[in-house]
């Protein structure tokens, strides 16, 4: 009724659609920030606190809802700040990535891996590895964009994504298949 008094039906429809889509986009943005925080922390409570702080900082700095790039930068920077305060967790540089991820292929269906098992497999990865996997695979960031966000070289990011993916697969494979065969043709027996 209020709409009919002040606006034409077309104008009212635009306002309704816009208000809903804005609310949805803000919520989607926060959910994306939460997932990124989760990828860094691997803990729902910590991730919730992190995205909350990041959202406040980002909103405060520009006086309105931030875009995803700014929100992600704030999530990352606050995460680093928290690490610096606690100093009990190693936030490894992208360039520090280990070289222990050989390609090992097992014959099982990855889609059947339960969430709990995937979560514990992800927990064994380094923060940096989870971060690049999340940004690349889930968010669809390019290596260049990840390099920009993390302050690393594009080549390093590409290498890290590849190795992290192999490492994750190997961890899951070890939990599911015995024996498994590596690409080098070796057969590993437990």
């Amino acid at each position: 009724l209020l709409l009919q008094d002040k606006f034409s039906p077309a104008q009212g429809l635009v306002i309704i659609v816009f208000s809903r889509s804005s609310k949805q986009s803000v919520e989607m943005l926060i959910q994306a920030g939460y997932r990124y925080a989760y990828a860094l922390q691997n803990d729902s409570g910590e991730a919730q606190g992190l995205v909350h702080d990041a959202w406040l900082r980002a909103s405060q700095s520009i006086g309105r809802a931030p875009d995803k790039a700014l929100l992600f930068r704030c999530v990352r920077n606050i995460h680093i700040d928290q690490y610096r305060r606690s100093r009990n967790v190693r936030f490894s540089s992208v360039d520090d990535f280990g070289r222990d991820a050989g390609d090992q292929t097992g014959a099982f269906d990855v889609e059947e891996v339960p969430d709990a098992q995937l979560q514990s497999a992800l927990a064994t990865l380094r923060e940096t590895e989870r971060e690049v996997l999340f940004l690349s695979i889930v968010e669809g960031y390019t290596a260049g964009e990840i390099a920009e966000l993390t302050g690393s070289k594009r080549g390093t990011v590409l290498s890290l994504i590849h190795r992290a993916r192999l490492k994750l697969r190997n961890i899951i494979t070890e939990d599911n298949v015995t024996p498994f065969v590596s690409t080098a043709g070796r057969i590993k027996h437990d």
Binding site: W55, R64, A69, C74, N77, L118, L133, R165, R169
Partner: protein, 196 residues
């Protein structure tokens, strides 16, 4: 590796904040925002939703303007002035800029002085901060002649910051200079007029 990617995507997409937590975050952000009252779903209910929708409409227009040169410059000038004025505790002590650089390991760049920097300043210490959402170094100096403190902020010259032209302005009684140099973005702040 597609199946791993698909599984990871499904896993992360299944992670969701519940409605209550989401509301808390949105409302907190709304209180922090200078515009206020824009993003709260609760306030869009009842008889005030039309007004809220209109505000959202005006914000959408504003979002197109967000990121413009003048706004970025203004925001960065403010950040530097506030950071200088709040006198937060310095976390790193070092006598030289080289020592500061060696201590601030989380920075994705080398801490270095700009070319026009006055050598008579004594390093007091440094801390991490953010400029335009980028992790930055805040280094404090003492001008031995005037016994006043000077703040030098530096961060990577990302696209947004590269577009800021060199400028000097006074913000809330703080003189702030901004400029890009050698791949870094610098901001210098002090309470007295003779910024180098």
């Amino acid at each position: 590796m597609t199946e791993i990617d698909d599984r990871l995507r499904d896993y992360y997409q299944s992670l969701q904040l519940n409605t209550t937590d989401m509301q808390d975050i949105v409302q907190s952000g709304q209180e922090q925002s200078r515009m206020g009252g824009i993003f709260s779903a609760r306030r869009l209910g009842g008889s005030t939703w039309v007004a809220a929708a209109l505000l959202l409409l005006s914000i959408s227009v504003g979002i197109h303007e967000y990121g413009t040169h003048s706004e970025r410059t203004y925001r960065t000038l403010n950040e530097a002035a506030i950071n200088h004025s709040t006198r937060l505790q310095l976390e790193f002590e070092g006598r030289t800029i080289v020592e500061i650089d060696q201590l601030m390991l989380q920075l994705p760049f080398k801490v270095q002085l700009p070319t026009a920097f006055n050598k008579q300043y004594k390093v007091l210490g440094a801390r991490y901060c953010t400029i335009n959402g980028e992790l930055a170094a805040h280094v404090k100096f003492l001008d031995r002649e005037t016994d006043k403190q000077i703040s030098l902020f530096m961060t990577r010259s990302v696209d947004d910051l590269q577009q800021i032209n060199a400028t000097s302005e006074q913000v809330d009684g703080v003189n702030v200079s901004l400029w890009n140099e050698s791949g870094l973005f610098y901001a210098m702040a002090s309470r007295f007029p003779d910024i180098p």
